[in-house]
């Protein structure tokens, strides 16, 4: 069935469909069953599946993360939800010392570890430094974790289903602003983990994007098109395992690349991408890969500094112009950060 739905509904549908398909799937975490339902992404689940399978927890992320692992070891398929990834940091001991290692440390005696940790990332409304992190690079740094970042309703739906079905631990990172995005979702369309997605075709430059940066990239590509530059957008989607082949194929063709990772660039996933692209496309590259990411500071609260902290379509256009050796086009009539103006928070 095809429907036009919001990203948040795509998530709740994926959960409902997997819970229907498999009684061992359950969803838990702070605020999961309250009336706000994690910005709507757990809507309808409590009514449909009851409090044994959809439940709240105390503020005890460390223990609850360990409990997710224990439940998975005992044959269940937990989906643990964090309304902000910053709070998952309290569960890092379990995630990094146990969940990511356990199968390997036991010499494979532990077969399956089907755990999904869903976490909301990104900018909201003056979210400041403790409610705005992304952390995909940090999670992907650890062997034994899969890391997924959907950027469309279809991917939110299909990748969440694939993550729940995966027998390995998956960190599933959802940008807060994507929740409002509407798109067609076909529930028969499966997307396996581990594949990048070429979201727009172009021959002049490749924009390799994660999460919200895909939205900025589409706007940048529209602007660049006005001056005859065709940008190709590759949505990484699966941070780990990484589909380097799709990315390299695009860059080999365009010869120019901007890596736009929704995170700090320094020591981040952007650095990994840039290294792999340089290595894999050394002959074809006409210029060094550019990285676009957060300013290397904690996230400030006040809007004018926030707008400097976060890259936008404008940042991408300027970077593309540098790479292509073009003059700066006139962007004075363009509106950037429009989503920021629409978003009224409070979270």
């Amino acid at each position: 069935m095809k429907r036009n739905i919001q990203f948040r509904e795509a998530l709740s549908s994926a959960l409902a469909d997997e819970m229907t398909a498999d009684p061992s799937v359950f969803v838990f975490g702070l605020d999961v069953p309250d009336h706000k339902r994690i910005f709507g992404s757990t809507a309808g689940l409590l009514e449909k599946f009851g409090p044994e399978r959809v439940f709240d927890t105390p503020l005890s992320e460390d223990a609850m993360t360990g409990a997710a692992l224990g439940a998975a070891l005992a044959g269940l398929r937990p989906v643990h939800v964090h309304i902000r990834v910053d709070f998952a940091l309290l569960g890092m001991n379990q995630i990094i010392n146990m969940i990511s290692n356990l199968r390997y440390m036991t010499g494979g005696q532990i077969g399956k570890l089907p755990i999904v940790i869903r976490a909301v990332i990104g900018r909201g409304w003056g979210q400041s430094a403790q409610h705005s992190k992304s952390l995909q690079g940090m999670f992907a740094h650890f062997p034994g974790l899969k890391v997924v970042m959907p950027s469309s309703p279809q991917d939110a739906y299909s990748l969440l289903r694939a993550s729940i079905r995966d027998d390995n631990p998956v960190i599933f990172l959802e940008h807060r602003w994507l929740y409002d995005v509407v798109g067609e979702v076909d529930d028969a369309h499966a997307v396996p983990l581990g594949l990048a997605n070429v979201r727009r075709h172009g021959k002049d430059i490749t924009l390799v994007c994660t999460s919200w940066m895909n939205v900025e990239a589409h706007k940048a590509a529209d602007l660049l098109a006005r001056r005859g530059v065709e940008a190709e957008i590759v949505d990484v989607r699966s941070i780990a395992p990484l589909d380097a082949a799709t990315i390299l194929k695009s860059v080999r063709r365009t010869g120019r690349c901007i890596v736009a990772d929704y995170d700090w660039s320094f020591c981040g996933f952007a650095a990994e991408l840039a290294a792999q692209i340089h290595h894999g496309c050394f002959k074809e590259l006409k210029a060094p890969v550019e990285r676009v990411g957060f300013a290397h500071t904690p996230c400030p609260t006040t809007r004018p500094l926030e707008n400097l902290f976060y890259p936008s379509a404008k940042t991408l256009v300027r970077a593309a112009e540098r790479l292509l050796g073009l003059d700066e086009m006139d962007l004075s009539q363009e509106k950037f950060y429009t989503y920021e103006v629409n978003f009224k928070g409070p979270f």
């Binding site: 309250d34 503020l59 005890s60 979210q127 400041s128 400030p300 609260t301 809007r303 928070g345």
Partner: protein, 319 residues
């Protein structure tokens, strides 16, 4: 408490209330671009405990920190400057509502990750002991924070070392929308902490004189017998968890009767105390109008203040 002291306290209590009511009035103009966790109903806790603490005592708090900030620092200008994200904000607009602090005036840090400042306050108490002083350090936190391991770890260590760490639990029975009965598996916090070598007291946090008495009482015990203190203060959260509105329409909790709401309103309660102490209506009105004027002035100033310079983005990362 005599009338003069009471009027002084009322000025602080009413200042907190007025500032938060002003935030409610202004919030939908979309100029304060920061999530606000209002403490309407809980003002007496910060006002009373700060009053009882030695003036130089270091304090730590949470994202629901407006009352603590104002009670401890009396900095209305920096407060509104911060909420409006202006250069005049105490933290230059980098903090917003959730991380307000003023270390020079003893509010060292607040954090929006629940439980986070409890062990930090522990460390400050440890440092004071290290220097041979063992002064009181106070950590404010909500009932939800006691579910985090760090609360118990900190209490354990402070009890072990006999540190003068004052733990103030501001208990509104809610963590966002989840009632304490759906979160805690013990028979009440006071009994749960009773096995530790700490002092423990509870009081009605909506009643400023009761808060003051309980805080002074536990501080006296901590003075005589150096142990951590656990102060359990209950209050009613009048508004939604975050944001300027009421949230009774969502039905996860019932709106109390008007009489009960008045009983849980620390400002209303304390006005009755004032009357009983012989304060005249015009004396009370006088305090209010001065506070009203001050708040109006500072809000107007904040609205006109410049934003931080772009170069501020890169400052303050390192010393």
């Amino acid at each position: 408490m005599d009338k003069a002291e009471a009027l002084g306290l009322y000025q602080k209590l009413y200042l907190v209330r007025r500032c938060e009511e002003k935030i409610r009035e202004e919030y939908f103009k979309d100029e304060m671009k920061t999530p606000v966790h209002l403490g309407i109903g809980g003002e007496a806790i910060s006002v009373g405990v700060v009053q009882a603490l030695p003036p130089a005592a270091l304090t730590f708090g949470t994202y629901r920190n407006h009352a603590l900030y104002l009670a401890k620092t009396d900095d209305v200008e920096g407060f509104f400057g911060e909420l409006y994200g202006r250069a005049s904000g105490r933290c230059k607009g980098k903090a917003g509502s959730m991380h307000l602090c003023y270390p020079e005036r003893g509010l060292v840090a607040t954090s929006a990750v629940v439980g986070t400042t409890i062990p930090v306050a522990l460390g400050a108490a440890m440092a004071s002991r290290y220097r041979g002083r063992n002064e009181v350090v106070a950590a404010f936190f909500g009932d939800g924070a006691t579910e985090e391991g760090t609360f118990w770890e900190s209490l354990n260590y402070a009890s072990l070392r006999g540190l003068r760490l004052l733990l103030i639990c501001e208990d509104n029975e809610l963590a966002i929308h989840t009632h304490v009965n759906d979160r805690q598996g013990h028979e009440g916090l006071l009994s749960a902490v009773s096995g530790f070598r700490c002092h423990a007291e509870r009081a009605d946090g909506s009643d400023l004189p009761a808060v003051l008495e309980a805080a002074r009482g536990i501080l006296r015990k901590m003075e005589k017998d150096p142990r951590p203190g656990f102060l359990h203060l209950s209050y009613y959260r009048f508004l939604e968890h975050v944001g300027p509105l009421e949230d009774f329409k969502f039905a996860y909790r019932k709106k109390p009767e008007e009489k009960e709401l008045q009983r849980r309103d620390p400002v209303h309660r304390f006005e009755q105390t004032l009357a009983a102490l012989g304060a005249r209506a015009e004396e009370i009105a006088n305090v209010r109008s001065k506070v009203d004027e001050r708040v109006l002035k500072e809000v107007a100033a904040a609205q006109k203040a410049p934003f931080p310079e772009p170069s501020e983005l890169m400052t303050d990362v390192f010393v």
